[in-house]
Subunit: 178 residues, 2 copies
DNA sequence: CCGTATTATTTAACATGTTAAATAGAGTAG
DNA sequence: CTACTCTATTTAACATGTTAAATAATACGG
């Protein structure tokens, strides 16, 4: 049976079955896949003194230059309370610095220091090599398919349903019932 | 340009570029995809008093019946220290119980209590409905493709490389250099 | 200009992730 | 049987995830 035929057969079967087996459910597969990927990067990150999240922050800042905290949180997929602590940590280690926002005294703008950039650059080549290794193991074409499916998945699920099933955020100026 | 052609073009390009943009890298896409999926389930889980991980444990136990702690950890993708605390919590709430292993007094065997099963079953239908909703939004065929790609990804990355790049675990009876 | 609502960030409290060390039972060579 | 080694689980310590509340600055209607 071809792969396409297998896919079609399962798609047909999915209408009948109550829920996919736990270990093979979409949430578990995404969790295991991410763990499998991160396990390829972690030894290098740890060797350079970074947690996963600290590395995401450094990477975001190096890629984008100085950023406001809330934008950095969005970019790194971190909640503000987590990012707040992470920045404090990185700041104490002299890897990032902050300045007040230009037009808004509530906001902070974060950037990497020279030391931060140097440490990042000492770790980055091995991370790139790991990424190339992963690409080689999966194959370019299959990896591209994976990118596209995941981006579609994110786009579809982050958009609110027509019937508001996912508890949509209230709009900025919510009208009140008269 | 067809989707396949786009895929091929990007695959060709990937050999040149140093690393995919941070926000669209495989680790970030997997993280965002999982968050997007879990956000569909969380409101229901919280309504019933479960964290993500507590729900995984309950689901694993209901699916598989009583399980040894270490097997449960593997099944739920949890580290033993985390699972140890989670079981203590669920035990205090009367949702699971433990007994000593049959042949090994070090091990514990965990099972859901009647109350645990009842609470699980009160939350499960809405979770199933959410899964069906996600399936509808993505489409059966694309979801099946996603399952296959993720399972491949996990299988390939969890297998140790030929050159042991991912720090393979030492075998049970490691021979010593003579 | 004032009072109020809104927004950016931080803090608090508890659950989990992560790594190392501690505990205790099981297995094994001698 | 004893000493040594492994193995299953727990504890400890610190970082992050998550939710609610606190702070402080901004925006806005009147």
């Amino acid at each position: 049976m071809t792969r396409a035929a297998q896919t079609a057969k399962r798609a047909e079967a999915s209408a009948r079955e109550p829920m996919r087996a736990f270990s093979r459910s979409l949430p578990m597969l995404l969790l295991r896949a991410r763990e499998a990927v991160m396990n390829r990067f972690r030894p290098n990150l740890r060797d350079h003194g970074f947690t996963d999240q600290q590395w995401r922050v450094m990477r975001g800042l190096v890629d984008n230059g100085e950023m406001q905290l809330s934008a950095l949180a969005e970019d790194c997929c971190l909640l503000m309370p987590s990012l707040s602590r992470i920045i404090q940590n990185l700041e104490e280690r002299g890897l990032v610095s902050r300045r007040a926002g230009d037009n808004d005294q509530r906001s902070w703008v974060i950037s990497v220091t020279q030391e931060g950039r140097a440490l990042f650059e000492s770790a980055a080549p091995i991370s790139e090599a790991r990424y190339a290794e992963i690409t080689r193991l999966i194959g370019d074409e299959r990896l591209e398919q994976t990118y596209e499916l995941l981006e579609d998945l994110i786009r579809v699920l982050e958009a609110p349903d027509a019937d508001d099933a996912a508890a949509p955020k209230p709009q900025k100026s919510a009208w009140k019932t008269p």
